[in-house]
Amino acid sequence: MTCREFLRFVDAVPLRLRSRGELRIARQHAAACPGCAVLLAEAESLEQSLGSLPMIAPTGRLVADVMERVHREAPEQSAVRRPAPETRLVGATIRQKLGWAAAIGGNLALLGVYLQSLNTSAWPRGVLSPTITIGFQAERVSWVVQSGSGLLILTAGALLLAISILTLLGGSEQPHRRAS
């Protein structure tokens, strides 16, 4: 370890986040370098002092006052009504329902566009019945793109599908933050 590396070691993160191995290497360097030894001593002293910042003892009434308010203000059921996993399950189910609803809506929209494209009277002249040739599929796609309502429904369907995917993938959101 060089002095430059040592300086970075002491500065970068609190010493208590360092592993024993890292600290041993740093101490070995400090033992051979008086300048770095001073730095290490300073850093350790500062960490120790910060670790012993004062605590204040509460008055003897605090526990009693809190319990009195808990009995008065918080209803009996509040602490035990629903265990956390159940809460998460409920939240996730609603989210999933929304996701599935969007997925179904999106698929229906796309199906509508497809069925509408089967309406031969809307096609260019010369096409009398549906076929499965590539050329025919190209005509159909072109009809969907050229038709204003077809394009609108197609876009809406794609949007709903995208929303459903995002909703379902994001279903594992942590409920923890709601608490505060």
């Binding site: 060089t2 002095c3 430059r4 300086l7 500065d11 970068a12 993160v13 609190p14 208590r16 986040l17 370098c33 008086p34 300048g35 770095c36 030894a37 001073v38 730095l39 300073e42 850093a43 500062l46 960490e47 120790q48 002092s49 910060l50 670790g51 012993s52 910042l53 004062p54 605590m55 204040i56 003892a57 509460p58 008055t59 605090l62 526990v63 006052d65 809190v66 319990m67 308010r69 808990v70 009995h71 203000e73 918080a74 009996e76 509040s78 602490a79 035990v80 009504r81 629903r82 265990p83 956390a84 809460t87 942590q174 409920p175 923890h176 709601r178 608490a179 505060s180």
Partner: protein, 210 residues
């Protein structure tokens, strides 16, 4: 007011005392299982730590005591939302911090109103910092003064990490920032503290590169 006798909370050990953490976990589990009286044990185990945090944030003992009570009551009310895979205390401290933020906002609004209508404001009225009054030795007093002088974010990060003994990730969750931001805040805070305490003066021994 006196310094807590529970000095084991202030030793700066890497992890909180396991028996205390275990006792807290058991007490919280009991409350969630329907034993409301077990909450008394939860309050006993957390009160000194939470009150010290509140005092550090508000610098007013009476207001801090009130905030501590509010935080405990609110935590009880929303205990069903607590994720018991995580430690309880950081969640409780987060509630206290949010309440303190609400108070700061209210104070700002009050000051603004007072300024607008020319009413007497408490702004500028010197209050005794309760923590300063319980620090006996000069060295700790200087350190506390230096911590007090830190910018808001750095000060809170120092309090959470060193005084409250929260992990980086817990402090980050409480502040609503990333772990990297907390590390940066601590890095800057240590640098500012060294400067304030005079241990990082230019030309101080050891500030060299090889």
């Amino acid at each position: 007011m006196r310094v807590s006798e529970n000095r084991e909370l202030t030793t700066g050990n890497p992890a909180p005392e396991p028996t205390r953490a275990e006792a807290l976990r058991e007490a919280v589990a009991e409350v969630r299982a329907g034993r409301r009286d077990a909450y008394e044990r939860v309050v006993e185990l957390c009160q000194s730590r939470l009150l010290s945090f509140a005092v550090s944030l508000l610098k007013d003992y009476a207001a801090a005591q009130e905030l501590t009570q509010d935080a405990f009551v609110r935590a009880y009310r929303y205990l069903d939302r607590f994720d018991d895979r995580r430690p309880f205390y950081p969640w409780l401290a987060t509630i206290a911090f949010r309440l303190a933020q609400d108070r700061w906002q209210q104070q700002r609004r009050d000051r603004e109103l007072a300024r607008r209508y020319g009413a007497a404001s408490e702004e500028g009225v010197a209050r005794d910092d309760p923590l300063r009054t319980v620090i006996a030795d000069e060295e700790s007093s200087r350190l506390w003064q230096a911590v007090e002088g830190l910018p808001g974010g750095e000060r809170t990060a120092v309090l959470l990490f060193y005084q409250q003994e929260l992990k980086i990730v817990e402090a980050a969750r409480l502040l609503g920032v990333s772990s990297g931001t907390v590390k940066t805040l601590l890095f800057r805070a240590r640098r500012h503290l060294r400067e304030a305490l005079g241990t990082d003066a230019p030309g101080a021994p050891g500030r060299h590169t090889k």
